[in-house]
Amino acid sequence: MVKPIVSVENFHLAIGEKEIVKDLSFTINPGEVFAFLGANGSGKTSTIRSLLGIYQPTSGSLLIDGKRYSPLQARDVGYLPEERGLYTRAKVLDIMVYFGELKGLAHEEAKEFSLAYLERVGLADKSNVKVKKLSGGQQQKVQLGVAIIGGPKLLILDEPTKGLDPMNRKLLLDIVDELQAKGTAVIYVTHLMEEVERLADRLLILKDGTARAYGTVADVKKKYKSKSIEDIFVSIYDTKSSEVVHG
C-alpha cells in the first residue's frame, strides 16, 4: 500500500466561537491531483493553512509525509495561496532565488532552477525586471515558479488559474501535468469544474466545514449517478442534506 503524502484525521478547527472545520479526514497519495472543492467560506483555505501550520488545529491531526508540517520541510512543499502577491520592488530573479533559499535550496541551485523556469514560461527576458513592471498574468507565472521551485513532493494550488488568459491557463495546467508525472502530489483548489475533470484523480467537496463527497472522480460520479462534477457540486450545495463522508 502506498504511504500517503498527506494524512488528515478528525480535524476540527474553531476560530473564536465559530466552528470552521468539523471532523474532516482525508488522505492524498504521491503523484495524484486532489481536487479540494467547496464554495467560498466552506473551510478550504483554513484547512490548507492548518495543514501548513499557519493555523493551529483545535483537534485532530494533519500530517505531511508522516509529520506535522514545519518550515524544516519547506523544500518538500510548494504553496500558491489564494491571497498571493510578491515583493513588488524586487527583481523577478531575486525574488525567486529568495524563496528558493527560504525553502532550503543553495543559492546557485535556486538560481539555476529559476532561470530554467523563466525560460519555460517565456519570462527569461524579465528576470532582471522589477515585479511591479510585470502584468498580472506574468506575476502569476512568477508566483507559480516560487511555489514549485525545488520540485516539491506536495504542491498546493489555491485557485491558480484565477485571472489567467486561456494560453497561460493551458501553460499552468501543463506544468501541473509535468509535476504530477514526476510524482508530485497536487492539492488543487478551484471553482472551475472543467479543470477538475481535466486534472483530478480524486476529489473532496467541502460544505460548512464537513466533507460531503470524497473519493476518486469516477467513484463520486458513480455514487451521485452523474456525469458531471459541476452537477454534483451544485446538487450538494442545493440540498439541505447533512450527509457527511469520512476518508
Binding site: Y79, R84, L86, F99, L102
Partner: protein, 409 residues
C-alpha cells in the same frame, strides 16, 4: 540559521538597493549643510551690504535731544549734528525727498530705549542701512568714553568663559565630559529617524503585497521577525558608518580649506573624556532603546491591516521619542523631580531620557542599571508582542487584530 541569514540578506539588500535609501542619506545632511551655508553667507552678505550702504549715506540729518550722541562720531561718518530747532524743517525735507533720512534721538532715549527714523522712501534696503547707521552712531557714542577699540569690542560683544570645575577636590573636564555620552543621544535620533521606520514598512509591505502567506509557509514567524530586526540593525550600522565617514570628510575638508571648526561652549576635541561606564550605559540605552522601538513598530505593522493604518498608529511612538525635549531643562537639572523619575522609566520616553541623563551624568550607577533593566524588560515585551501579533495578525488583511487574539493559544 541558513534561513535567518537568507532573510537578513534579503531585507538588507531590499533596503540598501533602493535609490531612495542613498538619496535620503546623502540629501538630508547635504540640505542641512547647504541651508546653513547659504543662510550664513546670505546673512553675512546682506549685513555687509547694509554696512556698505550705511557708510555711503551722506544726505542724512541727525538730531540729538538726548545728549548721548558724540559730535565727532557723527562727523567721522561724514555727517553733521543738526539742532533741535531744525527738526520740523528736516522732517518736511525728508517728506518731500530733499533729504534721504532724519534720525532723531529723543531726550527720553535712555528711559524708553527708542529713537525715531524718518525715511524719504519705503525702500527696505535703505531702511536697514539707516537703522544700521543710527545704531552704530548710538553705540559708538556711548562706548567711546571706555577708551580703546578692544574695550569697546568687549563691551559690545561680551566675552567667553573658561570654566574650571572640581569634583571631590579634583579638577574635571567640565563640558568635555558630556560630549562622548551626549553623542549617543544624537545617534539615537539619527537611528530613530532613519531606521526604526524600516521595521514598520518591511512588515506592513509584506501584508499589503500579500506575500506574507507564502513567506510564512517556509519560515517560522519568530525567525522572520528576528531576521528583519537584524537586517535593520545592519542597515543602521551602514548608515552610522556612512554619516561618520561624511563627518570625517567634512572635518578634514574644512581643515584643509583653512577653516577650523569652532565647537561651542569651549569644547575641546583634545580634552574629550571617554568614561567607560558612561559609554557602556550609552551603548546599552541606545541598543535596547532602538530594539524597543523596532519591536513596537513591528507589532504595530502586524496588528494594522495596511501600511497607511500602521503609519497612523505609529505616530504615538514618534511623539514618545520627541516628548522628552519638552522637559529637557528639568531632565538635565532636576534629576530628583518625580516627573524626571517617571519619564526615565516610562517605556516610550525612557531611551531618550536615560541617554540625556547619562550624557550629563546626573543618573547614578544603580539608577542607570534599574533604568536599563526596565528598558530591557519593555523591549522583551515589545518583541514578544511583535512576534505574537505577527503570528496572529500577519494574515489579517482587512481588520485590526484584536488585543485578545495575542493571548489566545
Amino acid at each position: 540559521m541558513a534561513k535567518l541569514s537568507t532573510v537578513i540578506k534579503h531585507e538588507y539588500l531590499t533596503i540598501v538597493k533602493q535609490p531612495s535609501f542613498w538619496i535620503i542619506m546623502i540629501a538630508i545632511p547635504a540640505i542641512i549643510a547647504a541651508v546653513a551655508g547659504l543662510s550664513y553667507l546670505g546673512n553675512k552678505s546682506s549685513q555687509d551690504r547694509i554696512g556698505d550702504l550705511a557708510k555711503d549715506l551722506k544726505n542724512v540729518a541727525i538730531v540729538d535731544q538726548s545728549g548721548l550722541i558724540n559730535k565727532e562720531v557723527v562727523g567721522a561718518s561724514g555727517l553733521t549734528l543738526s539742532s533741535t530747532d531744525q527738526q520740523n524743517d528736516l522732517r518736511e525735507a525728508v517728506r518731500t525727498g530733499a533729504k534721504e533720512a532724519l534720525v532723531v534721538y529723543p531726550d527720553t532715549l535712555a528711559k524708553d530705549r527708542t529713537y525715531e527714523i524718518y525715511l524719504s522712501s519705503d525702500d527696505f534696503t535703505k531702511m536697514g542701512s539707516v537703522t544700521s547707521l543710527a545704531d552704530s552712531l548710538l553705540k559708538t557714542s556711548i562706548f567711546l568714553p571706555l577708551g580703546s577699540a578692544e574695550i569697546i569690542a568687549l563691551a559690545q560683544d561680551g566675552a567667553s568663559s573658561d570654566v574650571v570645575t572640581y569634583r571631590d577636590g579634583k579638577e574635571t573636564a567640565g563640558l568635555n565630559e558630556y560630549v562622548v555620552p551626549g553623542l549617543f543621544v544624537v545617534l539615537f535620533y539619527i537611528i530613530f529617524a532613519f531606521s526604526v521606520g524600516y521595521m514598520l514598512t518591511s512588515v506592513s509591505e509584506e501584508k499589503e503585497n500579500r506575500s506574507m502567506e507564502m513567506v510564512l509557509t517556509y519560515i517560522e514567524p519568530r525567525k522572520l521577525i528576528v531576521g528583519k530586526l537584524l537586517a535593520v540593525i545592519a542597515v543602521t550600522i551602514t548608515q552610522v558608518l556612512f554619516f561618520a565617514l561624511m563627518a570625517v570628510v567634512a572635518y578634514f575638508g574644512l581643515q584643509a580649506a583653512g577653516n577650523a571648526i569652532a565647537l561651542p561652549a569651549g569644547i575641546d576635541l583634545n580634552k574629550l573624556v571617554f568614561d567607560p561606564l558612561a559609554i557602556f550605559f550609552g551603548v546599552s540605552f541606545l541598543v535596547v532603546g532602538f530594539l524597543l522601538f523596532a519591536g513596537l513598530m513591528t507589532a504595530t505593522a502586524a496588528i494594522a491591516p495596511s501600511t497607511k493604518e500602521a503609519n497612523s498608529f505609529s505616530a504615538v511612538f514618534y511623539i514618545g521619542a520627541f516628548m522628552p525635549f519638552y522637559f529637557v531643562m528639568m531632565i538635565l537639572t532636576d534629576p530628583e523631580n518625580p516627573i524626571t523619575k517617571f519619564i526615565t522609566f516610562f517605556p516610550l520616553t525612557s531611551p531618550v531620557v536615560a541617554l540625556l541623563r547619562n550624557a550629563v551624568g546626573n543618573m547614578g550607577t544603580l539608577e542607570s542599571v534599574l533604568a536599563l533593566l526596565a528598558m530591557t524588560f519593555f523591549m522583551v515585551v515589545a518583541i514578544w508582542v511583535a512576534i505574537r501579533a505577527f503570528s496572529r495578525g500577519a494574515l489579517e488583511y482587512s481588520s485590526v487584530l484584536k488585543l485578545s487574539a495575542l493571548f489566545k493559544r
